[in-house]
Symmetry: C3
Subunit: 661 residues, 3 copies
């Protein structure tokens, strides 16, 4: 990242698709970009058909001219391999490159992303193009970053994919005996006697084998990753100094980003919150923390966001005035070294013609473009923030395979979902201004005082042991319900649950009991203070732990709802229901106290105000519609305005300050 | 139409499917028809398999006998080409004649309409049959009208259709460069390098190219139209004096009726409102006005309606007592020269066995059949109405391609829909008894004092110029939101919107801002009177226009919501939100005042009473459940009863009078 | 059944799938089964792939050992033919054995049930396996019952199925003329000219021919039945003394159980109520009465139920404490000679890993397993109940073809459904403790004082005559709305409805009038007492019957809603709407009085208490959460506890007593 921000400061820009416009517009674009403080643009994401209008042809002239203009203007280029969207000729000449859904429907060109990740023809064509692209632009002064593909997520159920799936399964399970054991094929007479029988989870009369689906999810992520790696290797070999990234989509289910991120030089993310969602600022913070954590805490890039409304929801509410900068600065506060948009100039045609852009259809003389320019200017004032870390003492565990396995069909309740639980446990931390890293379950946790596991349905023996050792060594652990249930093949761990965490939690259970949803689950803290939860209960008994809260109604009345266990030098909490936010906030407060962790401010910030420290800078962001007053411990300078503040700072609606002591 | 009504008066009858009944029933049918005043029946719509039981065979004997019986009884026949529903043998022997949906599923026989509009085999078979039918019945005394096909609307995505689509596209766009330009294929790498690559919009991984879909909608309508024309030409060549029609379905999205109607000798329509919909009388009036307008104001035929309930909704509420005549007379009042039903005798079997009919399963001794007979009798008293016009000074603009383009996926909000907007703007006019013509955007508007454009998303330069000239020449124009957005290829017109109407409206905007839907959009008229709107706002500025209403809340507070602009000799209104009905009624009243247009009565009729003048006759129709009193300007005779009324007329629930001064 | 219960008493056990567990677990299983009082287990339901790991192979060794262990322990085996779930190799090698849905999608292996019922390859493979299984275990001491297939219900639309459908149709309709007549193919030009044209009801452009669908439903049930019979014949030939059953699923639409049950030696059922459904105890009683009635009143087997929660609903609420025994005893009270579970030991993997079991994941030391053991023990105390009948004087008519035909698309209202009507009419009988048999319409009714026909849309002439004769001979008949509408081909019976029952009902109608659903239908009894109904009304007139209730609002005000007709020695009631429960209870009371039928107790039991007599034993089951007191006519002994009760018995929440005088 340093090579990117060095001399440039924070990065600001967007996707630039000059091929959609006549050449005379390009000069205007570059001029307007400069005026807006743009210093990085992503070029070429959807240019395959333009570069290779017929098989084997190459037309780079236009791209030479575009990159030339940008280089002249000092605007760096994030050059995309345009392999996310093959031209119609590929699907027409090689129908096998078109993906097939689980019902056997072929998906056609006319949109985008119509490729089978396992197609050798697609792969060969894509790599040939990437090779030529890399060779042509190696050493080009504009080239600052490689952008491989786009929002990877394609899935295909065709016979070629089936063959690739089988190869992947051989690698994982060794032989058919291993596969049959892992998939539990004695259930429902599913034993495979020949590798050729094994297929992706296709449309079937009833619920498909959950381990088949779990392995399929793993394979699909890995198949895309293999393609990413192949492109990256081509690029690295030809432009060794240029960093390589691909744009993630946050908590995007099909891609196990923990496996992908180490293969990147720089982690980047696309983020499109719904302004109509009242929790989107919290969701945004969680997503940014995930992105930063994927890169091991290093600065990252917000590579795509909307300047205002998107176009793909049924009803697309725009951003409020001031929200563009607020959201962008939130990313910066949480570790981004750049804030970019899809896209620079709003398209006149195509499926995204109503996606907002930095330069709207109505042109530069608009309120929206004025906000863009103002924000471009103020980002320059934050240059010193580039490269600074966001240190955290709290870890939030998230695991893709566990997510896949937990949300598989046929579970006790589909009202219990992984992203919801992540957000529920993250929200009270965010409200207190406590910095959080996301971690995979296999992470070393020694650097964290508190580790929160909202849900870890699937856990390996090693990871369960590591969590246990973490507590015994002094860590504080909070574990949410329906965790520790399954092994890495998704097989239930028998015995009282959560079997591999039973000792450290000092408690065990025998029944998951989804609660009727027409009324709340009533509980009380040990002192009798009542609280409410929903959807889920468990029949537990304490085995050393202290029941800090109990259910107070129905059959489970008196039975533990929350337990706290001193184990070794640490403390382990177990939460056996889905407490309403207030109760979860109370619980989080107690666990933070156990861990001795506090937030960015001496006390909790006012409602809707986000407080986060990046390096020496304290960011305060008011996501609310009302003014908020935040007391300050020491005098500081607001980098955004240069103003000196002391005692307290008052933030208007959607205001931000970046305070350096 | 004159040839049809001359000597017959208003037409009354229904679909007659004698092939469903043993021959002895036919005589009873004809006897009952005579008793009910039936003078026109549609025969043969679903008789292909009966006439051609195996490929190439012809069995006309039964039809000879049916037509003979009807001719003897003096009942005219609307003879159908039975090509809407091919026999099973066609699909079985030629699977390529079966349609294929966008996912590639073949649609089988067993229902109806299972043909590919582009299939040459289907076309050849259909035209051979139509030729023989026309030759056999040319000159038959019963033959009064040709009914081509039935409710055209079939769509097919097969390879043959793809080839036909390509031919159509060549015609429209010339060469591939033209196609690529029109479709904006630089977006998402969709450039076509060979015509063979071009396919219908089939199932794809994500949003399909909107211009591809727009052209597909145009092609699908045209492909059916070509088939209609081919049949019509066969008929015209053999029975030159016999008029030809096909039954439309009102605001039916797949068929651009403005392009079809000129190809007909007579416009006819099928109309099946839901009695459970409180706005259905308004919807009916709008539909009838559309049908009349399609025929250039000439009398039209209500060719299908239900005597009571239909069978295809989940819950099919029947018509209330008196509603059969009320609905029929509404059509007559709005220009119909005939009111017919699907169908004469209720089927015992088949998918429509529960569709009500003129002669119910329970037989002639029923309340429903008594209503049918009474209505047949009273229609004779309205004979003088036949051929009379319904003059209107207000034009309501509706355009199929604009509808297709506006409701394409990926727009700012799918809560804004074309039929809803049409109805919203039509309703206050209907409530005031103001006569309205529907017009396509390319219509000459000089005859209209007021032109209302609820939505015209897609507009050509010529049409925009014509609207501008209309205002400058003294017309009054009302334009609803999200109009003037795109050109005929569906490309956004850049610059402040609505770009091509900006001058005439004296205002322009820069953002379409869908509003959160959990609360109303608050506005106020210039005098401070508040009103509410919903769903949609725009960020506008006046450029000469007077803001007659403003938004009063949130970021747009103070910004114009409704503007009025004196331009040349006329006035142009722009409405930038979706006002609730009361506010839209207020606005409509002001625009009518600008235009100097008033309704059929000196003042507005009482609630639920519809007032419309056809020729010299004033129809008053009470759609409500309560008695209503309408003051009259002059003494008159009620044609339906012969009664003389003076001063005022009192209408019971669902009552109608037809007053001739 | 006697051979099964002789020496064993009531049967208790579950599905046992040892192939899912390593062999050492088996001994533990058997030990735990003995401790829990298990005396019957179903083995082998999903063992095809285990027994025949590759085509033609046989591995019976493991099964020998399992059956040996069970025989030693004195646990009887219900041995399954494992043909419900073929191994992957069958579908892989013979794709034609895989079923195809109505859209043409092939359904793959990976779940279960992936076979085409008409596939000759599947049939041949299945019968070969069944033959070998029967030969191997003929005479085995553990073998007590054969379990053919599993939950039959597969449907396939492939070309082979089409051929089989045609053969079935030839059998039913003779020739094509008969088919065309029966299907009413003159409607919509559907005439078939060649048998090869006839196909299953596949995806089509619009509503498919309803008689085609009715015959298809008949064929699908019969095709499965033929397969069942073929397996049964193999078994009977080899193990003549061993009874044969297959597990029904209660009111499962695809299988016409009246046609199946006579082919079984013993009727058994699977029953999975939703504990979140407040009416499930009533639904359960209805289902148990159906199962008993299918076997002509002989004892039956509850072969599958959940010990607590299932896994296949979106949100799976577990059973409350005590509910396991309550539900089991309810089945026993209603004629079951055994109560079994799916399954013995909870699976660790596969799609049903979260389906509860007799032995949970958490092991034997759990509350749930303790309930299982306690219940196993108490069942032994009811041994004398085995074989006892549940005599009933009320018949409730239910017919599968009528159900299929009534719920076909295109009917007046899809808010009128057969299972709902069955339950609505059953519920007041259940609440009064009145025993009910379910009967097909063709049943001899002479043994019943009251016959209730909630809906009999489709009725043959013979059945209508039998119902008429039943009343004239002294029976009391209650007929619900929309009955007597169609003949066995689903053709509407013309004339005033219900045409074939008009005489016996002394009333007739001319319009079915679905009512607006936003408000109730208001009615009143003859004495003016008002009541409410919903959804449905009919326009009727009395023709000898007494209108005991009338509609009181709208057009039908004053028109009959309920009629009562003395016909010969009996009484016939007709109900022309859907009365709310209270009104239907009132009506039921009157009809019971007409019939002189009373319940198991002198008066109605307290709310939520079910009262039913099996042989000499009076079962009282409290389904409520509150204590209930039931007065007793005579002193008795509670077989479950041995306690003597006199005067009255008090039942706690979910308590049961089994009282023998």
């Amino acid at each position: 990242m340093h090579t990117l921000t060095a001399g440039r400061g924070l990065l600001f820009g967007g996707d630039y698709n000059p091929e959609q416009w006549p050449e005379p517009v390009w000069a205007e674009d570059v001029e307007l970009m400069r005026a807006a403080g743009v210093n990085l643009v992503t070029v070429g994401v959807f240019s395959w058909a333009r570069i290779e209008p017929e098989p084997g042809a190459r037309d780079f002239g236009w791209l030479d001219r575009v990159l030339g203009l940008l280089a002249e203007a000092g605007i760096a280029v994030d050059l995309a391999t345009p392999t996310a969207s093959p031209p119609p000729w590929l699907g027409h000449r090689n129908p096998g490159t078109l993906p097939v859904d689980e019902s056997g429907h072929r998906l056609w060109y006319g949109a985008r992303n119509q490729f089978c990740p396992s197609s050798p023809v697609y792969r060969e064509r894509a790599l040939a193009l990437v090779t030529d692209l890399a060779e042509r632009y190696a050493g080009h002064p504009a080239l600052a970053l490689w952008h491989v593909g786009n929002e990877y997520g394609q899935i295909c159920h065709c016979d070629v994919s089936a063959e690739a799936f089988r190869a992947w399964l051989r690698e994982r399970h060794g032989d058919l005996a291993g596969l049959n054991e892992a998939w539990g094929t004695t259930f429902w007479s599913q034993r495979y006697g020949d590798w050729a029988e094994v297929v992706p989870p296709r449309r079937a009369p009833y619920l498909v084998n959950p381990t088949q689906k779990l392995d399929w999810a793993r394979f699909c992520s890995d198949a895309l990753l293999a393609h990413y790696r192949a492109e990256r290797d081509v690029l690295r070999a030809r432009t060794p100094g240029v960093p390589v990234t691909t744009n993630f989509m946050g908590l995007f289910k099909p891609v196990d980003s923990w496996r992908w991120a180490p293969e990147e030089d720089l982690v980047s993310n696309d983020w499109y919150p719904d302004p109509a969602d009242p929790l989107f600022p919290v969701r945004a913070a969680l997503t940014h923390d995930l992105t930063r954590s994927l890169g091991g805490g290093r600065p990252w890039l917000l590579l795509e966001q909307a300047a205002s409304a998107v176009n793909w929801r049924p009803h697309n509410v725009p951003k409020a005035a001031g929200q563009l900068r607020l959201e962008s600065l939130q990313a910066v506060a949480r570790g981004a070294d750049g804030s970019c948009y899809f896209q620079w100039r709003a398209s006149r045609f195509g499926a995204e013609r109503f996606h907002s852009a930095m330069l709207p259809h109505a042109g530069p003389g608009t309120r929206l473009h004025a906000e863009v320019r103002a924000h471009g200017a103020e980002l320059r004032r934050l240059a010193e923030v580039a490269g600074q870390p966001v240190p955290a003492r709290v870890a939030l565990v998230h695991d893709w395979p566990s997510w896949w396995a937990m949300e598989e069909a046929g579970r006790p309740s589909d009202r219990l979902g992984v992203p919801d639980q992540l957000l529920a446990y993250y929200r009270p931390l965010w409200e207190r201004g406590v910095a959080v890293d996301l971690v995979p379950p296999s992470a070393g946790l020694s650097g964290y005082a508190l580790t929160v596991v909202p849900n870890l349905y699937l856990v390996s023996d090693e990871d369960a042991e590591a969590l246990t050792a973490y507590v015994r060594g002094g860590g504080v652990l909070v574990v949410g319900p329906f965790s520790g249930v399954a092994d890495p093949n998704g097989h239930i761990r028998t015995g009282r649950f959560p079997a591999p965490l039973r000792d450290v939690l000092g408690a065990s259970g025998e029944e998951w009991r989804p609660a009727p949803e027409d009324r709340p689950v009533r509980c009380a803290w040990a002192d009798g203070t009542p609280f409410e939860a929903r959807t889920w209960t468990e029949l537990l008994r304490a085995e050393g732990a202290e029941p800090v809260a109990v259910f107070t109604e129905g059959e489970l009345a008196g039975s533990p709802a929350v337990l706290r266990h001193r184990a070794g030098a640490g403390v382990a909490w177990y939460v056996a229901t889905l407490p309403h936010h207030d109760a979860l906030a109370e619980l989080t407060g107690r666990a933070l106290a156990d861990a001795g962790v506090s937030g960015a401010l001496p006390g909790p910030p006012p409602p809707a105000v986000e407080a986060v420290r990046r390096g020496p800078v304290l960011f305060l962001l008011n996501h609310g519609d009302r003014e908020a007053r935040v007391p300050l411990a020491e005098p500081a300078e607001d980098l955004l305005t240069g103003a000196r503040v002391e005692g307290a700072v008052t933030l208007g609606a959607r205001a931000v300050v970046a305070l350096r002591p």
